[in-house]
């Protein structure tokens, strides 16, 4: 079976028939120039029609996707009423261009200006401009653009790009999935697809050429997978997954706005784990109450040199702003011999998991570590950030990190920079050593987070990649459970909050025990947030 891959930005499954949406080719030179007054009037009329249409779409979209998503289209109206842009269009008409040509060239100018800026938000503004331009020209030329409303039930739409106005015209009853050649998790089209809950795969190279009208496709919207002409078994499999996805979704949506409280009234929190700033949206979309683990490795990997303080600040503050008042726990660099970061020149080790890594490397290289700490303290000003140290085995490591944070605070103060003081500092409990001294660590840490993935490996002395012993890698082993229980108890005795950010936090078989022991916060992959909340709410 031929397969195409892209970025899965809206989960769900679908099997359907492809409809490739072709951009209407227009000859922009075909319109005849009447007079400046006449062309200006034509343009004004087109703006009025556009405004009326868009207002209708906003009303519709507010119903289907919520007010916040409808604001994307409100933004288009604001942009189109810009006096600077309007005067440029009028000038262009005065100098002899038709309304169509003037709209085209002025919008293209803004498009180039916006897309030249290396900033995700500006790139989206660029696609907004394109959307506005196409709509206005469509009205001027007397066509209504691409027919999206009238596709038959079971359609999968393929386009170069889905502009906000295209996405908002999608009939969710008939359209089973969308595929586009451009876009990312944070594109308007992705946000809207998630809001109206249809699977979407973006950034599929040459999709509108490779896929032909009428092709049967099977789509996995979370993995970003597209199968061509699936056989009967695959079709049956995908249809079953689609059905159970909807069923589960239905049973979980009621938990979106429900508080995470057990039947006996104990309040818990369900957070999300993320690896990239843009994943924060996904946590909110899945009803997460915060971020329990933001891995910072992505900033350091797949590049030739260290990220600057500014670059790190951008990433951390973006997440802090997205989450608003909600907690964001950011883990400092957790890197070592097993993760290739050539420019750090960490020598190859026989035993990377027991070697020069994570907090050990960072404390040994304060010049590198302090750049990250400074970026974190500055970003903390913009939201509710907490800092978490990985691979702690000794109280001295926490004390040393605290010392470095104090140094950063003094530096930032002297520079007059905006930052937050006394940012909560927590310890990730993932080594047997940390468990054994958890009582002491709890005296100097502001919170704990149990990292069950590594803790299980270290406690059981097992390499989970080794097939011969992998059956020992099991969070349910008595030794691992005891380690978790001890850690929670020490946190409770010291009165500090304790969370869990490993896969075990979403493990239905373990959740009752974790609640009994007193775990406060469960941090899981965004897709498991609602399910975890459901498990907690059903606990007696």
């Amino acid at each position: 079976m031929k397969t195409l891959r892209g970025i899965g930005v809206s989960p769900g499954y679908a099997v359907g028939k492809a409809i490739v949406i072709k951009e209407i080719e227009r000859d922009l030179n075909s319109a005849e120039y009447t007079s400046a007054e006449e062309e200006k009037r034509k343009f004004q009329d087109a703006v009025s029609v556009y405004t009326k249409n868009t207002r209708e779409l906003i009303v519709e979209l507010t119903k289907t996707a919520g007010k916040k998503n409808a604001e994307i289209l409100e933004g288009h109206l604001v942009m189109l009423s810009d006096p600077f842009m309007l005067s440029q269009i009028n000038d262009s008409i005065t100098s002899g261009n038709t309304a169509v040509k003037a709209t085209d060239s002025v919008c293209n100018g803004f498009y180039d200006m916006f897309s030249a800026v290396d900033d995700e938000m500006m790139k989206q503004r660029a696609s907004d401009i394109l959307d506005i331009k196409n709509s206005i020209i469509g009205i001027l030329c007397g066509d209504n653009g691409v027919a999206i409303e009238d596709v038959p039930k079971g359609s999968i739409l393929i386009a170069k790009d889905f502009t906000p106005s295209m996405t908002s015209r999608i009939n969710r009853e008939n359209v089973y999935a969308v595929i586009a050649e451009v876009g990312s998790v944070t594109s308007h089209s992705a946000i809207l697809a998630r809001a109206i809950d249809i699977p979407a795969v973006l950034s599929v190279k040459d999709a509108s050429v490779l896929i032909k009208d009428g092709d049967t496709l099977a789509i996995d919207g979370s993995k970003g997978k597209i199968l061509f002409e699936p056989d009967r078994e695959t079709v049956a499999e995908y249809e079953k997954m689609r059905e159970s996805y909807f069923e589960e979704k239905k049973s979980l949506t009621e938990y979106f706005s429900k508080p995470t409280v057990t039947k006996s009234g104990i309040k818990k929190c369900v957070y999300g784990n993320i690896g990239k700033p843009e994943d924060a949206e996904n946590v909110l979309h899945n009803g997460g109450e915060g971020i329990g683990l933001f891995r910072t490795e992505f900033l350091f990997m797949d590049r030739p040199s260290l990220p600057s303080e500014e670059e790190q600040f951008e990433a951390y503050s973006t997440v802090a702003k997205t989450m608003g008042e909600k907690e964001v726990i950011i883990r400092t660099l957790d890197i070592g011999g097993d993760k290739a970061v050539p420019y750090l020149q960490i020598p190859k080790e026989d035993n990377p998991f027991l070697g020069y890594r994570a907090i050990r490397y960072c404390l040994d290289n304060p010049d590198i570590f302090k750049v990250q700490l400074r970026a974190l303290l500055r970003a903390a000003y913009f939201g509710n950030i907490k800092i978490m140290l990985p691979l702690i085995t000794d109280t001295a490591e926490v004390e040393k990190a605290k010392q470095l944070i104090l140094e950063c605070e003094t530096e930032l103060e002297n520079e007059g920079a905006l930052f937050k003081k006394n940012v909560p500092l927590g310890v990730m409990i993932e080594t047997p050593a940390a468990v054994l001294i958890a009582d002491e660590l709890a005296q100097i840490a502001d919170f704990f987070s149990i990292g069950t993935n590594d803790l299980t490996g270290y406690v059981m002395a097992v390499d989970r990649g080794n097939g011969k012993v992998t059956q020992l890698y099991d969070v349910q082993k008595p030794a691992v459970l005891k380690a978790i229980e001890m850690t929670i108890k020490c946190a409770k005795n010291a009165g500090i909050p304790v969370g869990m950010c490993g896969e075990a936090a979403a493990d239905g078989a373990l959740i009752p025990k974790l609640i009994e022991w007193g775990l406060d916060e469960f941090s899981v992959t965004p897709n498991s947030i609602l399910k975890t909340r459901k498990e907690i709410c059903e606990f007696n």
Partner: protein
């Protein structure tokens, strides 16, 4: 002509929503408003111009107003920027 230097404290910088709040307040005035940002002259009544300038949080800008109600306009502009535009 009157002018004043100020610092953008809006946490998102002058993006869509804050920029829109700013220009809707400024269009009430008859005077012209220019924002000088690193030597770039930006039309303070144009959301497209302001957004394209990508004025981020912490940026130093100079606001220049010129016209019959320039002083009131400058006062409100500075007040808006310094209050964070939220």
């Amino acid at each position: 002509m009157v002018s004043k230097e100020t610092v953008v404290i809006d946490k998102m910088g002058l993006h869509m929503r804050p920029a829109n709040n700013f220009i809707s307040a400024m269009t009430k005035y008859k005077s012209d408003i220019t924002i000088d940002f690193n030597g770039n002259k930006i039309n303070g009544k144009s959301i497209m111009n302001i957004m394209a300038a990508c004025i981020k949080y912490g940026s130093h800008i100079t606001i220049i107003c010129e016209g019959e109600d320039e002083q009131q306009m400058l006062d409100e502009a500075v007040k808006l920027i310094e209050s964070g535009l939220e």
